[in-house]
């Protein structure tokens, strides 16, 4: 066990855990933020995607010791009230079905748009191919990423 300190959704957070414990389980079981989902444990499905210093990472395969001193943002911290352009676009397009993958989809899309405000279809394929959706919402996800790009553009 060891004390590890990082910034979580803008607030300093210290946890006393096994340093190898994946960030996913620290978030879900130790801290109690369950918006970040477990799907595979091997970085194959993207359900656990969070932002680490602004980059999308799979928290199921990120040992918590590697985030010490860094900034972690989860779905709960992406915006105050679901007002991030990606979340607004997701609501407009009405993307989710079962919804289980959607935290990860939203986080991957937000990271993409931060990097590329006007993504091409190929950019969307590349950024989103790591996020599985078993309900098959991909066409809606693509439309919502494009809509979020418009909403972001309109805002800036």
């Amino acid at each position: 066990m060891a004390n590890i300190t990082f910034t979580l959704n803008g607030t300093s957070q210290t946890v006393d855990v096994v340093p190898e414990m994946p960030l996913l389980w620290v978030l879900r079981d130790v801290i109690g933020l369950t918006g970040t989902k477990f799907g595979c444990g091997m970085a194959l499905c993207g359900a656990c995607t969070v932002h680490l210093d602004g980059q999308p990472v799979r928290s199921c395969s990120t040992p918590v010791k590697s985030v010490a001193g860094k900034r972690v943002v989860t779905i709960e911290g992406l915006s105050a009230n679901g007002t991030h352009p990606v979340q607004r676009a997701w609501m407009e397009v009405d993307v989710p079905q079962c919804g289980y993958c959607q935290s990860g989809q939203v986080m991957s899309a937000a990271a993409l748009l931060a990097r590329k405000p006007k993504p091409t279809d190929a950019d969307i394929d590349e950024a989103m191919r790591g996020n599985l959706c078993r309900c098959g919402t991909y066409q809606s996800v693509r439309a919502a990423v494009q809509r979020a790009a418009e909403l972001s553009g309109g805002r800036s």
């Binding site: 130790v30 918006g35 091997m42 079962c98 078993r134 098959g136 919402t137």
Partner: protein
């Protein structure tokens, strides 16, 4: 307008306001369902739903069909709210607690694409009855006749004075009134909510991480568990040593339960690490030598073996075959499939003071309840099920093994426990879509039209046989207008656990039959659409979607170089679907670029929901057709995670154009409709592209082009 009488019961809600339930003793479809799934508790009278109108004008709709992700929560609310004429922005929804007497036993479940089919009529009547009571209350307060009242957006209007009373202000008075024996339903032309693409009520929670799935439930003092189970089906623990598992930081207990060895810890990861360190010696039992090759031999052998239960017979197949020229024969095969729900099974169980509570995402809360009753050893009234959202279900999130395991562990460690499946648990301990094989024989007349159709299916089943046949295993194998038909069935009795998988028997049989139809078209020199028009002649709605899909896909017109089309269709779940797939062959693999999908599901409750389901169920079938394959090696499942069982990803997603046939017929099911045809549509397009007929799924087994 139906003449059914509604038997309603009202009472004052505990929180103030009106509480209304509705009883329909004679819903024809449900009598059939009761025969199939057992009667709801309490006998012939089945109460279905509750509306709660608060004095604060908030209308709470209790949704008795769990939402597997297909939007039943929204659609059922739309139906209720339409007839109630309430303010959509002031409604709240909540899932019903399990209560067979109140919500109808098995019918409280969401399965078989039945959620809307079995609620459309009763929920309209429930809404209309509540509206009638509110109008009566208003009329009494104003001293006018009910006929001088109308309703609008959550209020009763006095048509003489234009005075207005909100539902909330009338709720307590309405609760004291007798229930109307008959209710008048709206003219569908006046619908304001049914048929509109309203945003799903669960969307905001699902894009902000606030939606609670079974795996997200947290209780004070809760421990986290995983279970080590025999990898070989039918195996059991011979002996185990938990010393190393207990040495893992965070592990609190290592206990044997009937299903295996549970490792319990202060968090999920520690439990998984503890399980990795656990030493178990398994008695693998009699199935440890079972292989995919042996299973395939069994299936193919039975498909070629005369006899078997006769599932269907009309005309005289043998005579028609003898009269025809060369018979056309083919054998098709489909593999075992896992559901691969993205949320692995999870269940929280707490047993305190003789009460057992469980929290889980379940399609059938009643099944979860009876499982928990059995596992806890308590009486039914001592067990409570809390239904959460489900991270996908697709047929087998009933409430069996994972609920029993959670309760067993909670008993063993005397603490609240969350049991979680890992991804390999999920893939290796599922109830699988059965592998199967079919032998077809058909004959054509001298003009190339089919005169005889024979199918012998070998398909393991989890259902009891009736007259030697598992109905689910033969459905959709011979649904054609052909004069001489015979269908036989063999049960291979394999020890792999099987169960419902989105669209059940149609998931493989539509691939088989709609591929073989194309073989007959090629042999008889018919265009595949032309032949289908003849074969679907007795189903106008199936013909309708066939023609619509062909038209929208511009069937018969040239495509860009390297692109090819294939078509297939299905009738099922009270609905109709035809799909045209447009493919190319790239580096020996098929790539699906576009799917034109024509749907006739009768009256549409929410068009966005229909489009979502049409796209999503198709993708589910496409993932399976392209590379879905659960293989058995030494009695166990070889695949352990998404690198070996990989659903379709974003970059492989075709453009899907959904076209809905306007229809005012009773609503049909949409949750499974478009899963069956896509495999055959793609296979038929592969044939158009390569001249190669693929008769074995998944397509990835064969190098194309």
């Amino acid at each position: 307008m139906s003449t059914r009488r509604a038997f309603l019961k009202t009472s004052a809600a505990a929180t103030g306001g009106l509480l209304i339930g509705v009883y329909f003793p004679d819903l024809a479809g449900e009598a059939t369902l009761d025969a199939q799934f057992g009667p709801p508790g309490g006998g012939a009278i089945t109460p279905h739903a509750f509306i709660r109108i608060g004095t604060d004008d908030v209308v709470t709709l209790t949704i008795h069909k769990p939402d597997n992700g297909q939007g039943t929560e929204t659609s059922i609310a739309q139906i209720l709210a339409e007839e109630l004429d309430c303010d959509w922005s002031r409604i709240r929804t909540e899932f019903a607690p399990i209560n067979a007497a109140l919500y109808g036993g098995a019918l409280q479940g969401t399965f078989g694409s039945l959620a809307i089919r079995t609620t459309y009529d009763p929920m309209r009547r429930t809404g209309a009855a509540a509206r009638d009571l509110l109008m009566q209350a208003a009329a009494a307060r104003w001293g006018i006749d009910k006929a001088q009242c109308r309703t609008e957006n959550g209020a009763v209007i006095n048509t003489v004075t234009n005075a207005r009373l909100s539902y909330g202000s009338l709720a307590e008075a309405a609760a004291k009134l007798p229930v109307p024996a008959n209710v008048t339903l709206k003219d569908p032309a006046q619908f304001k909510l049914i048929g509109k693409p309203l945003q799903r009520v669960d969307t905001p929670a699902k894009v902000t991480g606030k939606a609670t799935f079974g795996i997200d439930v947290r209780l004070p003092g809760m421990l986290y568990a995983v279970v080590a189970r025999s990898a070989v089906f039918g195996g059991r623990v011979a002996r185990f040593d938990g010393t190393k598992a207990k040495a893992v930081p965070g592990v609190t207990h290592v206990v044997e339960i009937p299903q295996g060895i549970a490792v319990v810890a202060s968090n999920t990861w520690a439990a998984m690490e503890g399980r990795r360190a656990l030493q178990v010696e398994w008695d693998e039992g009699p199935n440890a030598t079972l292989t995919a090759v042996g299973i395939r031999e069994t299936l193919l052998g039975l498909a070629s073996k005369a006899g078997g239960g006769v599932a269907e017979q009309h005309g005289d197949f043998d005579k028609a075959l003898a009269a025809a020229g060369q018979p056309i024969e083919a054998t098709y095969e489909a593999p075992y499939l896992a559901h691969a729900r993205l949320e692995p099974h999870a269940c929280v169980a707490r047993i305190v003071d003789g009460m057992c509570e469980i929290w889980t995402g379940t399609q059938i809360p009643g099944q979860a309840h009876s499982t928990a009753v059995q596992a806890s050893g308590l009486r039914a009234e001592q067990v409570k099920v809390h239904t959460t959202y489900m991270g996908g279900s697709y047929g087998s999130r009933g409430g069996g093994a994972f609920v029993a395991e959670a309760v067993e562990v909670a008993k063993a460690v005397n603490a609240p426990v969350k049991l979680t499946y890992s991804r390999d648990d999920e893939l290796q301990h599922d109830l699988y879509r059965p592998a199967s094989a079919v032998r077809f024989v058909a004959a054509l007349d001298s003009d190339g039209w089919p005169t005889a159709w024979f199918a012998r299916i070998a398909c393991p089943t989890w259902m009891a046989l009736r007259n030697g046949v598992a109905r689910e295993s033969v459905e959709g194998i011979a649904d054609y207008d052909i004069p001489n038909v015979k269908v036989e069935y063999h049960d291979p009795k394999l020890p792999i656990p099987t169960g419902y998988w989105r669209s059940v028997g149609l998931s493989q049989n539509t691939f088989f039959a709609e591929s073989f139809v194309d073989e007959l078209a090629a042999r008889g020199r018919k265009d595949p659409v032309e032949l289908r028009r003849r074969l679907y002649a007795k189903s106008p709605r199936l013909l309708g979607v066939l023609n619509l899909a062909a038209e929208k896909a511009r069937w018969g017109t040239p495509l860009p170089q390297g692109r090819f089309r294939g078509i297939a269709a299905v009738a099922g779940f009270g609905s109709f679907n035809a799909q045209v797939a447009e493919v190319s062959i790239e580096q020996g693999k098929v790539r699906v670029h576009r799917v034109v999908c024509a749907v006739d599901c009768g009256r549409v409750i929410n068009p966005t929901g229909v489009i979502q389901q049409a796209q999503g169920a198709m993708v589910y079938g496409l993932s399976a057709a392209l590379r879905g394959n659960i293989t058995i090696d030494r009695g166990r499942v070889a695949e352990s995670n998404f690198h070996q069982y990989e659903p379709l990803r974003m970059h492989e997603m075709p453009v899907v154009d959904v076209h809905i046939v306007p229809n005012t017929a009773a609503p049909g099911g949409m949750g499974e409709l478009t899963t069956p045809p896509i495999g055959a549509a793609v296979g038929n397009a592969i044939y158009a592209a390569t001249g190669k007929r693929i008769r074995r799924l998944p397509f990835s087994l064969e190098k194309l082009g």
